[in-house]
Each structure stands twice: as C-alpha cells, then as structure tokens.
C-alpha cells in the first residue's frame, strides 16, 4: 500500500512509524493556533511527517521583528497574513495535506466552533489569557491541547487532556487575567522556539498514535544557557 502520491515521500519515517501509523496520521486532523515562532515550526513538522489535515489559524500579519525566529516569515512577506504564508508553505512541501487556513484572531466567541472538529489542538499562542480561553473551549470539545510557550532561551511544553486542570497548574488560578509573561522583557530566540516546536510536534504524534509517554500533568522546562532540562510533576 502506498501512503503518498510521491513515491518515497515517507520512506525515512519507516520503521520509526509503521505503515498503519503513517496511514492513521494521513487521516488525522490537527488545529494549530498561532503561526509565529512555535506555530511555524509545528505546522512544518506535522506536514512533513504526514498529518493529513491541518487547520492553521492566526489573524496577524508579518512584521520585520518576526524575521529573527519565525520560519514562515520571509523578507518579501512583511505585511502578509501568517495564515496565508502557512498555507503556501505547507502546499509547497506536502501538497497532499489538506490545509484550512483562517486569517482571524480567536476569542471566547469563536474558539469552540473553530476547534470542535479537530482531533487535537496545538497551542502556539503568545498570550496567557487566550490560552485559558482555549482550554475552556477544548474541554467543551473534549479534545487534547499540546501547549508550548517561550521566553528568551527558556521554553516549556505541557499536554492537557479533557478534565485536567491544565494552565491553572502553571500560571495559577488568576493567571488567566494576564496577557503577557516575561517574554516581553527577554524577546524570543529562534533555536528556543524551534526546540519547543519540536517537542510539541512529538507530543502531537504520540497522542494521535496513542504511543509513548506524554507530558500530561507535567511541564517540560528547558533553559538553554545552562542546558537545564527538567520535567516537573504538576500534581
């Protein structure tokens, strides 16, 4: 059985993945919210590995300050919608992926509708309060969230399943009232963004394939100045 119209496309996925797993990925539907430093890396990796359906959402357009880290951002794309650039990029690297790109910001009024048909949602947002809104919508839709966040050369990843306390364990009960974290003081480095995006992509695959260990109720923290890597038990 061939898994792609381009012979050999997925050859190097085998036998890390089985044919059955590759086929399962082709039928999977993942929504990525936020197409900046994290989201650009995540959607590229998911498309290359063969996730068949991607919904890519961001209402923002590129600006020059995105060039230091965002894979989707190119000089000639300044002012262009990130969702459009993401769709074009995915079409260029894997035209068999069905991409639904939405140029819109999400809030409590539209989040549930946008994510309810996904197998899981990847949180690549840049605002803490929106993450809490996303969790509420994902809980209602009974789908997992794979969440990443970065500041400078420090990154974190966690996986939130329906019924979990999720972000409250990381940001506190009142955390949903604040928008930004310490990244406003540190900026964000490309290699940290892509490191976190890689861990998020790995979590997505493990959930879709029901395989390996996931970061449920755990927080992976990476600090790259000191090569500190911790997995914290949140409960």
């Amino acid at each position: 059985m061939e898994t792609s119209k381009i012979e050999g496309r997925y050859d190097r996925n085998f036998n890390t993945l089985s044919l059955e797993e590759q086929t399962k990925l082709s039928g999977s539907n993942v929504t990525v919210i936020g197409l900046g430093g994290l989201g650009g890396g995540v959607c590229e990796m998911l498309a290359r590995v063969g996730v068949g359906h991607l919904t890519l959402i961001d209402g923002d357009t590129f600006e020059a300050s995105n060039l230091n880290r965002q894979l989707l951002c190119e000089e000639h794309l300044i002012g262009v919608f990130k969702a459009q650039a993401a769709k074009d990029r995915i079409n260029a690297i894997n035209s068999e992926v069905i991409v639904n790109s939405l140029k819109e910001y999400l809030d409590e009024s539209n989040l549930y509708e946008r994510i309810k048909n996904a197998d899981l949602v990847v949180d690549c947002l840049d605002a803490i309060d929106t993450r809490f809104m996303l969790q509420k919508a994902a809980q209602k839709a009974s789908i997992p969230i794979v969440s990443g966040a970065i500041a400078g050369v420090t990154g974190q990843v966690t996986t939130i399943l329906p019924g979990d306390k999720g972000y409250e364990l990381i940001y506190g009960k009142k955390g949903g009232k604040q928008s930004k974290g310490v990244e406003t003081k540190t900026g964000n480095m490309a290699y940290c963004a892509l490191f976190v995006a890689a861990i998020q992509s790995s979590e997505v695959l493990k959930i879709l394939l029901d395989r390996g260990d996931i970061l449920q109720n755990k927080l992976l923290i990476a600090e790259l100045w000191t090569n500190t890597f911790d997995i914290i038990d949140l409960i």
Binding site: G181, I221, D230
Partner: protein
C-alpha cells in the same frame, strides 16, 4: 543550617545569590521566606518546584532540596 540547590529561571535569575547550587539557609525556612529574603517580588514567581515536583510557597525546605522558581512564560 541546611543547604539547598537554588535555580532561578528567566528574569528571576538576576536575583540569584552567589553559590546558589550550595546555598546555606536556616532550618525551617519556607519557600515564601526564601523568595522574600532574596528580594524577589512574590508575584513574579508562578511556579515553585522542589526536586521536580510542584509545591506551594508554604513548603518547608529540607537539606539537599533542589529548588526551582519559574516566572510566567507566555511567548509564542
């Protein structure tokens, strides 16, 4: 006195004392007291972890504890 290994992340690192990996503190010190003693604004500490497990500010530190203090990180 007891010794702990203290690690402060991101913007909290500016408060890191010397010899933080072998820091001497009084027996019975809570994490909250440790935070205040080093002049760290309490509201900047969102996550406290001791030996890889999340703890509350009232946790009483023990000899050889590995202590991590983490601020809110939200960038994407």
């Amino acid at each position: 006195m007891i010794t702990i290994d203290l690690k402060l992340f991101v913007t909290l690192s500016r408060y890191l004392p010397k010899d933080s990996d072998c820091l001497e503190i009084s027996k019975g010190t809570t994490v909250e007291k440790l935070i205040l003693d080093f002049g760290i604004p309490l509201e900047l500490v969102k996550l406290i972890f001791i030996n890889g497990k999340k703890k509350d500010p009232g946790y009483q530190l023990k000899h050889n504890d590995r202590v991590g203090l983490f601020p809110p990180v939200g960038g994407g």
